[in-house]
């Protein structure tokens, strides 16, 4: 590839092929329409075309590719969840992630770091042990380590936390990784397009038409499209899109914020999460500290960011990494998190025939991008719910059969 680049040094930049081809007009009919051009939408389109031969497919995105939570997240990929359902599902995703750069011929900067979830109390340590046992049972590399181990592998951390919440141990997950978020969406998008899938940016779905209990098409701000299958992959807009077919969901929208510091020399090659301090941090390949916390305190459909967030986060971060008091915050931003009561997603078929839901990704859905695309594509193409997502159906709440992932997902995304 670098050699291939060299030839453009002598040619005009315009002669370089565009990453995405020019847009075409909307067709009247598609075999499937995906709403939402984030990672999930693009992955689903890719696997529909590649694995199921469904290529007359359109992805409709009201903004630009990856402009939703896909391009706003802190890119943590891990599989050390608390429930068997969660572990099996996220582990499959991790395996898919490892091969994506090759599959796309595009570097997604997948970087395996090792992931520490700190325990500052007996009860936190208890949950870590529980998680480690569930993880090991499923063959996941996950163990409880003591404070000395943490001190050795995460230099510059004050494991005494200024004396107020000393680190007692941690759950260590060696495969924990970070990746370049946009590249994941771009790679899937380019792959899907190479099979003939159409991607329409700046195209918002304003309504979904049904006849009886069956989907017949979508209304967009560029006209009406007929289609028997609509797949909603809109994360923070899920309640709004579900309401278009008259579906209520348990999904509530809360802003989730993050920020980065100015770049510093590489000093931390791990990912560190503290549930008790409500913060997490990793160092990007540019040297910035990528930092985040839990969701904002109350429901809000907005991507505004606040000073309260940065104040709260840095207050805790300085306890954990005292030297960060000298760093400046460079940027902060927010995404709209689609939270569910049990911190597990909502995926698969719905009571409306031809309307498929992939939402409830809250603060944890980036790592699920490959496996969601794959399992949703399977479900749509065969009309059989993929076994990995059976526990995540919308009607589990009617059956009071929740998944219970809160202990592994509320702060560590």
């Amino acid at each position: 590839m670098p050699l291939g680049l060299l030839k453009y040094a002598w040619k005009s930049p315009e002669s370089m092929p565009r990453f995405f081809p020019d847009e075409t007009p909307l067709k009247k009919h598609y075999d499937a329409v995906i709403i939402g051009g984030g990672g999930h939408g693009m992955a689903c389109a890719y696997y529909l075309a590649k694995e199921h031969g469904l290529t007359n497919v359109a992805v409709l995105e009201k903004g630009y590719i990856g402009g939703g939570n896909t391009g706003r997240n802190t890119t943590i990929v891990r599989s050390n969840y608390l429930t068997s359902e969660g572990v099996a599902f996220y582990d499959e995703s991790l395996k898919l992630f490892e091969d994506l750069s090759d599959e796309f011929d595009l570097n997604i900067f997948y970087s395996t770091r090792g992931h520490y979830t700190l325990a500052h109390s007996d009860s936190a340590l208890h949950t870590m042990r529980w998680r480690a046992e569930v993880n090991k049972f499923h063959g996941i590399d996950s163990e409880v380590v003591d404070a000395a181990h943490v001190k050795k592998h995460v230099p510059y951390m004050d494991t005494n936390c200024g004396g107020h919440l000393p680190v007692m141990g941690a759950l260590y997950h060696a495969p924990g990784s970070v990746a370049r978020h946009d590249a994941v969406a771009w790679g899937y998008a380019r792959g899907a397009q190479s099979y003939g899938v159409e991607i329409h940016q700046k195209t918002a779905v304003t309504d979904i038409r049904t006849v009886g209990d069956r989907v017949t098409g979508v209304q967009t701000d560029r006209g009406f499209i007929e289609t028997p299958r609509v797949i909603s992959m809109v994360a923070g807009s899920t309640p709004t899109v579900a309401a278009m077919v008259g579906l209520k969901t348990p999904i509530e929208i809360f802003p989730l914020q993050a920020c980065v510091t100015e770049p510093v020399k590489p000093f931390m090659d791990t990912i560190v999460v503290s549930g008790s301090l409500h913060v997490y941090v990793s160092q990007s390949s540019r040297g910035e500290l990528v930092m985040g916390a839990s969701v904002d305190p109350a429901q809000l459909h907005s991507t505004r960011s606040t000073l309260d967030f940065v104040e709260g986060l840095t207050d805790q971060m300085v306890d954990l990494f005292p030297f960060t008091s000298r760093l400046k915050i460079m940027r902060q931003w927010a995404g709209m998190s689609d939270l569910t009561p049990d911190f597990a997603p909502i995926m698969g078929k719905t009571p409306i025939k031809g309307f498929y839901l992939d939402g409830g990704w809250g603060t944890w859905g980036f790592k699920a991008t490959p496996v969601s695309g794959k399992t949703m594509a399977h479900t749509v193409a065969t009309d059989e719910t993929h076994h990995l997502i059976q526990p995540f159906s919308l009607d589990r709440f009617e059956r009071f059969n929740l998944v219970g992932e809160k202990g592994a997902a509320s702060v560590g995304h």
């Binding site: 109350a298 009561p341 009071f400």
Partner: protein, 87 residues
Amino acid sequence: MKFVECAPIGRRALSEFVYAGPVRKEPRNETVSDADLSEFLYYHWNQPAVQTELWQHRPTGIWFYFERDTATDRIERVYPATKGAAQ
């Protein structure tokens, strides 16, 4: 920092309050069906709208109803959460 005008306790920082979620009409415990209970607990529209919510003022322990717009974060009305007061 955001401030809220609260009749009995005056102007307070929003950070002194804890959010406890939107107020929803509770079904009767003894007679509620499974379907109605799951509807009450889980299935909602959750659209951007002005909703009535419960918030507790931590220092005094007093509960309030906030009428808040979940699209703009603007708090439109605040009044004490006495039984039956939710509008």
